[in-house]
């Protein structure tokens, strides 16, 4: 077979598969819609705050609800596994927005 | 008809190793004739061919092709003229390894965008014309020297050029194959093509097929008949 035709067939199939993946994604999303909604309802009903991903230790099960002095959050926007986990500091815009929620700066001691 | 006037060609101009390969050539190549350039090695035959065939530009002088001055044309136009008007048969054949004989032959026609099927049929006819029809699908590196040259000749003919240019066509062939080449040359001349070739092989230069012989020495024409 002529190489260009072979290439055409290969690429048509590859692009077809690529396009199909998006159609498939839409289908799976639609399929999971009810499950997601059910999960969201459970979250609302139980007031859950964290996914059950990191259950290996108490302080990782609910990273967002941890102690202020735990490994996660002394800095007002340092929500991280480790304080040094991120390569760059959080942007100043976010910092300003959160600063008045940081108890150390909110209450003049 | 190609007309050269006052052609000079320098290599490495302006540098310490500047070398004038051609120093003042006036020459007219007649249509539908076979012209042979003869001369000792290094006399400038190949350089003159590259200028005739628009592969290179002269440092000085003019080239007229069919009464049109082409010396000043930009590269793009020159390429198109070269593709439409000239067919080249190189001394080393310069076939592309890994491709079959047929594929090699149709290469010069790729830029024209003709349908592949038509090109293949034409190439097959050309191969049959040089008795090589049965080797059409063989990769060129497996062909013998003589066969390779015949493939190269077919490649030179695929765009139906008016002018054929051959540099030392028999330098890599033995006497028997050289004679076969002359046979093909005769057929091409009979088709009414203009042929320019270089050679210092008396078998070619003195053969009856050649109409004109131009002798070069040190970049000048010393004899033309």
């Amino acid at each position: 077979m002529r190489p260009a035709n072979l290439a055409l067939i290969v690429f048509a199939s590859a692009i077809g598969a690529f396009a199909l993946s998006f159609a498939d994604a839409a289908r799976l999303r639609a399929q999971s819609e009810s499950a997601s909604a059910e999960t969201a309802r459970l979250v609302e009903r139980l007031g859950l705050t964290d996914p059950a991903l990191f259950t290996e230790a108490r302080y990782t099960r609910h990273p967002t609800q941890a102690d202020l002095q735990s490994a996660f959050q002394d800095h007002p926007v340092a929500f991280e596994h480790f304080p040094t986990g991120s390569l760059v500091p959080p942007p100043a815009g976010i910092l300003n927005a959160y600063e008045n929620l940081d108890r150390k700066t909110a209450a003049p001691d | 008809m190609i007309e050269l006037t006052g052609i000079r060609k320098a290599f490495n101009q302006g540098r310490h190793n500047e070398y004038w390969a051609l120093s003042g050539i006036d020459l007219a190549i007649p249509d539908q004739r076979v012209t042979a350039l003869r001369g000792p090695s290094g006399s400038g035959k190949t350089t003159l061919l590259t200028i005739l065939g628009c592969l290179a530009r002269p440092t000085e002088g003019r080239v007229r092709l069919k009464d049109e001055d082409i010396s000043g044309l930009p590269e793009r136009f020159l390429t198109e003229i070269r593709r439409r008007t000239f067919g080249f048969i190189f001394q080393q054949f310069n076939l592309i390894r890994g491709l079959s004989a047929l594929e090699n032959i149709i290469l010069p026609a790729y830029p024209t965008g003709q349908p592949r099927q038509a090109l293949l049929e034409k190439a097959e006819a050309l191969l049959a014309g040089v008795d090589l029809g049965q080797r059409r699908d063989a990769q060129v590196e497996w062909l013998s020297g003589g066969e390779q040259q015949r493939v190269a000749i077919c490649r030179a003919l695929i765009n139906d050029p008016e002018i054929l240019i051959a540099d030392e066509p028999t330098a890599n062939l033995d006497t028997k194959l050289s004679k076969e080449f002359l046979g093909i040359l005769e057929k091409l001349a009979d088709q009414g093509r203009t042929i320019v070739l270089t050679s210092h092989d008396p078998l070619v230069v003195d053969s009856a097929v050649v109409d004109f012989v131009v002798t070069l020495r040190d970049g000048r024409i010393v004899d033309a008949k």
């Binding site: 598969a17 259950t55 099960r61 609910h62 967002t64 | -």
Partner: protein
């Protein structure tokens, strides 16, 4: 040039470039394979991280707007009796629709060496002595509705519960390790002092008001610590960003190595290729034709690698549950939640991946050709 001729010409150029590639079949297939593998890995990481991030954000979007903790000596402490009422009296909180104390805590089960989250939900009627468990417990402890299970409490007593129900597997992402029970059972099990709460959940109707409410809470109750839903969502965004970043950092060495390999392969023009370009130009190809031919080579190889790598990554992440990278991206846990992610795909991310796989390689192929193709064609007469 008419369209038909143009197309035929491109097909000729593709014919030629594929024939050249076929000449070094093993080497070029190897290149394509490694290239595809790289796209596969990068796309897997990107697809998985984005889907997980999106799904987490989506389901957590319905968590409480504000969770109020109390701090004692800078440490999380219980909400004492009267605290809730105090908020209601002292703080005029506009927009707070609902405010209730929550009861939850951790229990370490030494049998499977995992932590469970015990919880006494307010608006769920669970009879005393019964529990509702998450799907991970169903698996790890072999529990089913009607079974009994005993937990040894922190005070040393053994408490036995009957499993009333197992939470649906579809919600496992958030509920894997939950053990839900009656408030009295919870207090009895943990010896949780009467009238105390773990924290307070508040729902605020107007999103614009959340921040103001939180600031007001802070100024009137200096020992409180409001955690906003915004922060929760952002925390998860950054956790998954961080994991994705970690993975990409590990991969960057591989990317660099491939970059060098591809550059070497694409940019280094062999003497043979240089000679061929000379021949093509001599027999009537324009410089542009040679460049187009090479452009096709770069485009075909890199585009194919992108398409194959991406489709393989899609299948891997969304049909094979990302089995290769799951531990790195999801995290390690004894109670591993099992869930299938719905494929949320970020078009921009894919476009970026496309650009960075296809463009540099094609450019790397073209650069040396540019130089070679602009040399004079007469050199072939002298080879």
């Amino acid at each position: 040039m008419p369209m038909k001729t143009w197309i035929e010409k491109q097909r000729h150029l593709i014919d030629f470039t594929l024939a050249s590639l076929a000449r070094r079949k093993a080497k070029n297939l190897g290149l394509l394979f490694i290239y595809t593998l790289l796209v596969f890995v990068l796309a897997s990481v990107a697809l998985y991280a984005h889907a997980l991030r999106t799904e987490a954000q989506k389901v957590l979007a319905s968590s409480p707007e504000i969770v109020l903790q109390r701090l004692v000596a800078g440490r999380h402490d219980l909400i004492p009796p009267g605290y809730l009422e105090q908020i209601g009296q002292n703080v005029r909180l506009r927009g707070v629709q609902k405010m209730e104390g929550r009861l939850w805590g951790y229990y370490y089960d030494s049998v499977v060496k995992a932590n469970y989250t015990f919880m006494a939900p307010r608006d769920m009627q669970i009879p005393r002595g019964e529990i509702i468990v998450g799907p991970a417990l169903e698996r790890s402890r072999g529990l089913a509705a009607g079974n009994g299970i005993s937990f040894r409490s922190y005070s040393g007593e053994l408490h036995t519960f009957i499993v009333a129900e197992v939470l649906p597997q579809t919600s496992e992402l958030v509920s894997a390790d939950l053990v839900l029970m009656h408030e009295e059972d919870f207090r009895a099990f943990f010896k949780y002092p009467e009238g105390h709460w773990t924290d307070i959940a508040m729902s605020v109707a107007n999103p614009q008001e959340v921040r103001n409410v939180a600031i007001k809470l802070l100024s009137t109750l200096p020992d409180s610590r409001p955690i906003l839903r915004d922060e929760v969502l952002r925390t998860y965004a950054s956790i998954f960003d961080w994991r994705e970043g970690l993975m990409l950092a590990l991969l960057s060495a591989a990317i660099l190595a491939f970059g060098i390999f591809a550059w070497e392969k694409a940019a280094g023009l062999s003497a043979e290729e240089r000679r061929e370009i000379g021949i093509l130009k001599a027999i009537g190809w324009e410089t542009g034709d040679v460049i187009k031919m090479k452009f096709w080579e770069g485009l075909l190889v890199s585009l194919l690698a992108f398409l194959l790598g991406y489709v393989a990554a899609y299948l891997h992440v969304f049909h094979l549950d990302a089995m290769i990278f799951e531990p790195v991206l999801k995290g390690w846990a004894v109670l591993y939640p099992r869930f299938t992610l719905p494929p949320h795909i970020d078009g921009l991310q894919i476009a970026t991946l496309f650009f960075f796989t296809v463009f540099p390689y094609t450019a790397a192929v073209l650069v040396p050709i540019w130089r070679a193709a602009t040399t004079d064609p007469d050199t072939v007469m002298r080879s």
